[in-house]
Assembly symmetry: C2
Homo-oligomer: 315 residues x 2
């Protein structure tokens, strides 16, 4: 059994792989590059497989990614291939929740303006009193209630927010007072003072937030996006900001991405942009590897894998 | 019964005062300035009373402040005066908790660095991966467990932090796993990855955090102060930062205050300064007035007032 491991796998992980799947042979991306025939024998991939390698990987049965979103992976070659794909969903819940609340509080507490003052060695309290907002008492709308949304809901409630959610299944979730579905999306948006969007990108979520959704939001609402840029219609977002309706847009993901230097979003008022790193955190590789090793144990034992991606749904 | 009300009281508040204390006469600071003799008849003050006016306010029985900290008020004249002092403690819990977590996440998620990139229209994710921190799994130490600390403890736990506290009484508090007292302060600091200091300034809390306390903190710890600047020995704090021991200092209050433009703190790495506005929030005046009106009802009914300041303890 050959396992292709991306990057330069650490000794500790290699040891865990050997213990979990005795007899397995680990090959690295560098070895595959030098000896392309190895691809034909690879049964498991941890990390990624280049698009042009899929047709040659005839024996591949399972690929475990290191990230959560798989929208970039779903090429026709991959959809046609029988291999199972699993992702690292779950390890991003805390860091992305922390990133979203960091962005939100940076906006409501005017911390970017305070940081600008600090660089001038300027102590001007009065200038920062204007435009402050408070989370307590507001309604938080969690858009896409997976691992991240469930974590954000818990924190939002602790801040004294009322939490509502939107998920395809409509199933309840702890800390979420009311759950909406895509069919009732306009009622959902009408209820939200703050939207935390962590939707995956699929054909159903592309431009999920367009002109009608922005029009449904209460004036002054704050939209945060840490999912995928194209789930929001950027033109509609900018239009709502320019019209003075949308209060603020806090974006870790954009469309397009990376955001070109001449894009108007960069310098719009009430916009904060962070370059797609909300899921990054110390220990990321270790936590992703733990999911792989657990799935490897299941694979060897013939048990169902966890975090299996529905290729047709795209997440 | 004459009530001196600071600033320009709003019509709604005046109406509430008339309904709560029929027959009371409201005088404004402007009227007192024009007719100083009025001071002798004032029984209640809402807001503040200038230091030189205290000896003349012979009939003053009760003063309600609009803030929480009363350290600036405790002059010998005030200590000697029999009037009861009440404060607006409680209304700051949510905004200050939000401000503290905003500062904390701005630091751990590197949002100030991202903001600097944004101003250059620069998308550089890699540069922001270094130095990220995660709250989940860390220990939050709440220094001074009053209304603010209790609120911060709830939020910290929701973020997946272990929460410990330090309060004079040592009494337990929801969401606080272990409570320390001033006698065991070094054990408290040794346990803290993050310290949230909202101590009032009294003779017992002045320089509460000095060299031994900074030495007790684990390397890389983050100290947040929203209480009063002098509860921290600024030199000891800067020394610990320079030595690479203290990870970060996030300060809404400083010593001295306002911080002079040439103070080294302004430009030290790992320091974020906001100019003493963590308690400010929309609706502040209305919420402070609600405490005054409730206390006025109690005063008229002869019931004990709430939020009475212990003049000797100084908070």
């Amino acid at each position: 059994m050959k396992i292709l491991m991306g990057g330069e796998p650490e000794a500790e992980l290699l040891q865990q792989v050997r213990e979990t799947a005795p007899g397995a042979e680990v090959v690295t991306a560098a070895e595959v590059a030098a000896q392309p025939d190895l691809l034909r024998e690879v049964e498991i991939v941890y990390g990624g497989l280049r698009r042009e390698h899929w047709p040659q990987a005839g024996r591949l049965r399972w690929l475990q990614t290191m990230g959560a979103g798989v929208n970039g992976l779903m090429t026709p070659e991959v959809l046609a291939h029988p291999a199972v794909i699993t992702n690292a969903s779950g390890i991003h819940a805390e860091p992305i929740t922390e990133h979203m609340f960091g962005l939100l509080l940076m906006q409501t507490r005017r911390l970017a303006a305070a940081w600008d003052q600090q660089k001038e060695c300027c102590w001007n309290s009065r200038a920062l009193h204007e435009g402050l907002g408070m989370l307590a008492g507001k309604t938080l709308g969690v858009l896409g209630v997976g691992a991240i949304g469930a974590c954000s809901a818990r924190v939002g409630q602790a801040f004294g927010m009322r939490v509502v959610g939107l998920r395809r299944s409509g199933e309840p979730c702890p800390h979420v007072e009311q759950m909406y579905t895509p069919d009732t999306r306009l009622e959902f948006f009408a209820a939200c003072d703050v939207v935390m969007n962590s939707l995956p990108l699929t054909e159903k979520t592309r431009r999920f937030m367009g002109p009608p959704e922005f029009a449904a939001l209460p004036p002054g609402a704050i939209v945060i996006n840490t999912g995928r840029g194209p789930t929001i219609d950027t033109e509609a977002l900018m239009e709502s900001l320019r019209a003075g309706r949308l209060g603020s847009a806090l974006l870790d993901v954009t469309d397009p991405e990376p955001l070109p230097a001449d894009h108007p979003l960069w310098s719009m008022e009430y916009v904060i942009i962070t370059p797609h790193y909300s899921g990054a955190h110390p220990g990321y590789n270790r936590r992703a590897a733990a999911i792989f090793v657990d799935n490897l144990r299941r694979y060897v034992a013939g048990e169902p894998l966890r975090n299996v991606v529905d290729k047709r749904e795209g997440y």
